[in-house]
């Protein structure tokens, strides 16, 4: 059997105590765990062998969701993906978020995994998400225990892929995240949480805990999330496209944000594509131009499911399809 490595399990009663317990240990020796759906498989494969686990699962301070599209939403990081995806205010006011949370993994894992955990999801790679023995057989990799990136052997950085479904949507919705650490609380735009580096992919101290997500009001926003994966039932995304836009009565796009998942080590905001939409009506020409612009910065590498060339091509296709859908236009049959 694939068993967990031994550790000591600490059960703080408050968030403050949880931060203290994490801060008492050197980085890597204590890790926070909520749903465990990302961390425990990684621990079984010996990607992580912390001496201490600090359990966040039962902290009531992380378990809330309030607000609506008019006031904005505040989501406790400990809310499960099932709770987020089925919450009436999320479904009504933030349908793309409900969709994305509902497309993560499987029903069982959504009952366990949390929205905070999905935002902090470890980056993924074919050469990394393998058992210890498999990784040992190839001499390990740059992300863990080795010194070569097998995706790009000449590279000095790790190219593991940001694979969260909720992150692109929350980026497109301009969400902010709040972290609690030994120095106190800080709030930052979600985009600032991420770094395009497969190893150090989060701008978060080891004793900092993501406590809540704040999503601005979204009344009148059109939004969608489209996920590309091999199986309809469950898989990590090989591409995620999130779009949020506002159209004036005459059809002019007054606000647009596009975010892509699974094309880099961080979820990416496609700012150039968004700029092409802003101030324009969403005609087929404008949509195609924006899709082409979103396609350019996407640089998938050969380290997830499906082929690299196909994944890159699909960025353009899925961005265009999503924009046609949000504009209320039929996409061309060739798309």
């Amino acid at each position: 059997m694939l068993r967990l490595p031994p550790f000591t399990y600490l059960q703080p009663r408050t968030l403050g105590e949880a931060v203290r317990l994490l801060a008492e240990q050197p980085p890597g020796e204590a890790m926070a765990v909520a749903g465990g759906t990302d961390l425990y498989p990684n621990m079984k494969r010996r990607q992580f062998e912390p001496k201490y686990l600090v359990g966040l699962r039962r902290l009531p301070e992380l378990r809330f969701l309030h607000g609506d599209a008019r006031q904005g939403l505040t989501i406790g990081a400990g809310m499960t993906l099932t709770e987020v995806s089925t919450h009436p205010q999320v479904r009504q006011g933030y349908p793309a978020l409900a969709t994305a949370a509902g497309l993560v993994s499987t029903p069982q894992l959504r009952n366990m995994g949390t929205i905070g955990g999905n935002l902090c999801l470890d980056t993924r790679c074919n050469y990394y998400n393998q058992t210890y023995w498999w990784r040992q057989a190839i001499g390990f990799c740059l992300k863990k225990d080795g010194d070569t990136c097998w995706v790009a052997p000449g590279s000095r950085r790790c190219w593991a892929v940001a694979s969260s479904d909720t992150a692109p949507v929350l980026l497109a919705l301009q969400a902010q995240v709040t972290l609690l650490g030994p120095q106190g609380e800080r709030t930052l735009p979600l985009a600032a949480l991420y770094r395009d580096d497969g190893i150090a992919y989060l701008n978060k101290g080891h004793a900092e805990i993501l406590t809540r997500i704040t999503v601005p009001p979204a009344e009148g926003l059109r939004m969608a999330y489209v996920k590309l994966r091999r199986r309809g039932a469950f898989d990590f995304p090989v591409l995620g496209v999130a779009v949020a836009l506002r159209l004036a009565d005459d059809g002019t796009c007054t606000e647009a944000r596009l975010a892509l998942g699974a094309v880099a080590s961080a979820p990416l905001l496609a700012t150039e594509a968004a700029a092409l939409l802003q101030g324009n009506r969403l005609t087929p020409e404008v949509i195609e131009a924006a899709a082409a612009a979103a396609f350019r910065p996407a640089r998938p590498l050969d380290n997830t499911d499906l082929t690299l060339a196909y994944r890159k091509k699909m960025v353009r296709v899925h961005v265009a399809r999503t924009l046609y859908q949000l504009a209320g236009l039929a996409a061309p049959a060739a798309l």
Partner: protein
């Protein structure tokens, strides 16, 4: 680190003295001899170790017993009433929805949670609910049929529904 864990499994209070890093799956099978819960991938991908936690399907290979003390755990052993099979078990048997049988406990528990919240699911809803349970024999059609039959027999009151 060994610890005492108090669990509520199939309505019984049990106390086990186990290493804290043993998963619920391992404790159910190795310490409580409840081997109806199967171990498959042990990485959260296959669904065969599904148990119900406060009525919701979860994967016991990724749950630590210490995290679920005080919560209600139901395994496949807790589904029948003595010798009387639950409607789902009867339907799986009648329709041959179990081939090798390895995924069956997880399938039945996941379907049980579905029927409790949605007594008359559409075929699509059954598919979505069972999306996390892999059948290595690929006998999905009989499984979907069995869930539909169980839902119908529960509705007309002709079989035991827990």
């Amino acid at each position: 680190m060994k610890t005492v864990v108090r669990l509520r499994v199939n309505g019984d209070e049990v106390e086990v003295w186990v290493p804290v890093h043993k998963t619920l799956l391992e404790v159910l099978r190795e310490d409580l001899q409840l081997t109806g819960t199967k171990h498959g991938c042990e990485l959260g991908e296959c669904g065969t170790c599904t148990v119900l936690l406060d009525g919701q399907p979860v994967l016991s290979c990724l749950v630590l017993p210490i995290e679920v003390q005080g919560q209600e755990i139901v395994t496949i052993e807790g589904v029948a009433a003595g010798s009387e099979l639950h409607a789902l078990q009867a339907a799986f048997a009648e329709l041959g929805a179990a081939q090798c049988g390895y995924c069956t406990p997880g399938m039945i528990l996941t379907a049980l949670a579905l029927l409790r919240t949605n007594p008359a699911p559409t075929r699509q809803e059954v598919k979505e609910a069972l999306a996390g349970n892999l059948c290595r024999c690929t006998g999905y059609l009989k499984i979907l049929d069995a869930v539909a039959r169980a839902a119908a027999s529960l509705k007309d009151g002709s079989s035991y529904g827990g």
